[in-house]
């Protein structure tokens, strides 16, 4: 009997690309800001996600890095701190579809952007993850002076937010709740999308 009898085997979302400002391009301290879609079990220390990340260049003569990223936890967690992170390519300026989902043909979670496979989890998570899976979608930044993607005039929109079923088929999430609240600078909005399902906007204001 499969341990995964639940409805969520993965997540998918269209995420608008916005290049966030970071607090210091040359301050000698790395900084980053991200937007992502994640599948995660009902445990705090496992996840698999894909999205984009802006990392600050510590040498001001070089441009910063604005890339696709994927990250997943290694099987040894929580007894180890291991994660595997791939950073590659460039998201440009358009909307991309990000997915992190168990592929039934090989029982591995594939983290993708569009038709590109960014990385594949290198172990069978069914042996390590709790059976209840869910989805998370968000933006994250490392320093309080940095921005999450999106501005007051151009929010970063997460649309076509799907859960992936065991056969790879898609269905809208019917309910999402904010796991973490905004602040005086970081804002969010959740609503019903005209195209169906839910949408989420995030943005920074004031910049």
């Amino acid at each position: 009997m499969s341990a995964y009898r639940g409805a969520v085997y993965g997540v998918q979302a269209n995420i608008e690309t916005n290049d966030p400002a970071l607090c210091s391009p040359s301050g000698g301290s790395p900084s980053f800001s991200t937007a992502w879609a994640m599948v995660t079990p009902d445990q705090p220390y496992h996840w698999a996600q894909s999205g984009y990340v802006d990392v600050g260049a510590v040498n001001s003569t070089f441009t910063h890095g604005f890339h696709y990223m994927s990250q997943y936890t290694q099987s040894c967690r929580p007894t180890c701190s291991g994660v595997t992170t791939v950073i590659t390519g460039s998201p440009g300026t358009t909307v991309h579809t990000y997915s992190s989902a168990l592929r039934p043909s090989d029982n591995r979670i594939h983290m993708t952007v569009g038709s590109t496979n960014l990385d594949t989890v290198n172990y069978d998570v069914r042996n390590y993850w709790a059976s209840a899976w869910g989805g998370q979608f968000g933006g994250e930044t490392m320093h309080t002076e940095s921005d999450v993607p999106g501005t007051s005039s151009d929010h970063t929109t997460f649309g076509h937010i799907y859960k992936v079923a065991s056969d790879g088929s898609l269905d809208f999430f019917s309910n999402l709740a904010f796991a973490e609240t905004g602040s005086t600078r970081y804002h969010h909005n959740l609503g019903n999308a005209d195209s169906g399902g839910l949408f989420v906007d995030i943005w920074t204001n004031p910049l």
Binding site: G27, F32, Q43, V53, N59, G65, V83, T85, N175
Partner: protein, 210 residues
Amino acid sequence: MKKSNRATIAAIAVACIAGLTTISVADAHSSEIGNADLSTETPAPSSSANVDAEKSASSTPVTQGKLETTSVPDQVIEAVSDHGISMTPVATTDEQVAELKVAISAKAADEVARSNLGFPADLVADTATLATVTTANYGTELEADPTKPSRIDPAIDKRLTWVLTYASAPMPLLGKAALERTDDGPSTIDSQVLVLVDPSSGDFLYSIGY
């Protein structure tokens, strides 16, 4: 005196004050996962606090490498092979690199890596090797039907690249949002990192931290 004060204020303005901020939405596990075995899989409430502590503790100083033109260490080759990366060394000495007359030096490739990944200014790669590399897990998925075996056309396929290795470098630690989490300090994790840089254009191609 005023000039001095302004300079101080400016210096503070460009400093990065740690404070991880996440805006995220999540589905409700209990209502979306159907008949999964929640009764036996509910995590202990203290677990997320452990993750927070890990994030806060992960920003230890990194070691400075020597940027030696040499072979990729065997243990690195073995470790990244587990992530679908294979390579054949082409130039492992300065003399062999010179013979290939590549436009981008190992030092320049190291600058590209540092810039694109936000590494500290004093962090230098431990090794630099010119090699042909294939990324089996990174590329175009040719089989759209997930019920059929994956077929990935590698984005990097037997391509000559600079292969830079770092024994310990800070990578972004992302992870799931947690209701309990507030500002929890620098969110990086020291990882072994392999970076690929195009030796002709200097383009940043790929990195993996593990």
